[in-house]
């Protein structure tokens, strides 16, 4: 994996008003399955896609909460959230959906919250960045 190309997917759109997040998740699963070194970062309204308790039934559209819960199963393991974006939206770590379970402890895992400077540093390491 250390030789694998580093690829980042950034999600900055809110969910459900458009299909961007839904289709972004499809890309994550494929890119991860090709053995690329994938990081996924939720910034700005993108953090809203990770909110717990979303229920799209009444809207008549398919949601993606199940897909988010399966991130780690599909090898989407490096999942980051911008701290400032959370704060602006009155969200805390507890509002973030689980993305899978830790293999050894079997504890549910949430995305990792990072400061923007840490995200910027991560961006600089990437070979390709996909804003979806």
């Amino acid at each position: 994996m250390s030789d694998a190309k580093k690829v980042m997917i950034t999600v900055r759109k809110p969910p459900h008003g458009s299909i961007y997040v839904h289709e972004a998740i499809e890309v994550m699963f494929i890119v991860a399955s090709f053995g690329l070194d994938l990081s996924v970062v939720f910034i700005d309204d993108g953090v809203l896609a990770l909110k717990t308790g979303q229920d799209t039934k009444e809207l008549g559209i398919k949601g993606f909460m199940a897909s988010i819960g399966a991130f780690m199963d599909f090898e989407v393991t490096k999942v980051y959230v911008d701290r400032q974006s959370l704060e602006d939206r009155n969200m805390s770590e507890a509002d973030l959906a689980f993305i899978g379970e830790d293999e050894t402890t079997e504890q549910p895992v949430r995305p990792t919250i990072l400061d923007s400077s840490a995200i910027a540093a991560l961006m600089a390491e990437q070979q390709s960045l996909m804003a979806l």
Binding site: G17, K51, Q54, T56, E87, N90
Partner: protein, 97 residues
């Protein structure tokens, strides 16, 4: 007048721009990503708090549920599509997109 708004207040300036054109007793209906504006304690909550001092604010319930939003600003009323149509019967509408 009924003003409809479907954009997130965090990514678009539509809401703050729209507020300049709302008259007393006008109605603002939030739908789609616009419902994020109805949530309490955010960096943009003051915009809807301001709108509520002038007139009525509704948020579409189906859109709130889809987004997991439950902690709403006091005074925001819930609407379903029948309520939306009732508002459309009473007012001409402008879509702030």
């Amino acid at each position: 007048m009924l003003h409809t708004l479907n954009k997130s207040p965090f990514s678009h300036t539509s809401l703050e721009n729209c507020l300049r054109f709302i008259k007393p007793d006008d109605v603002l209906l939030l739908l789609e990503d616009g419902v994020y504006a109805a949530t309490r304690g955010t960096s943009r909550s003051h915009l809807i708090e301001q709108a509520l001092q002038n007139g009525h604010v509704f948020a579409m319930q189906a859109d709130l549920k889809a987004r997991g939003l439950t902690d709403l600003i006091d005074g925001v009323q819930l609407a379903d599509y029948d309520k939306f149509v009732e508002l459309l019967e009473q007012h001409s509408s402008h879509a702030w997109r």
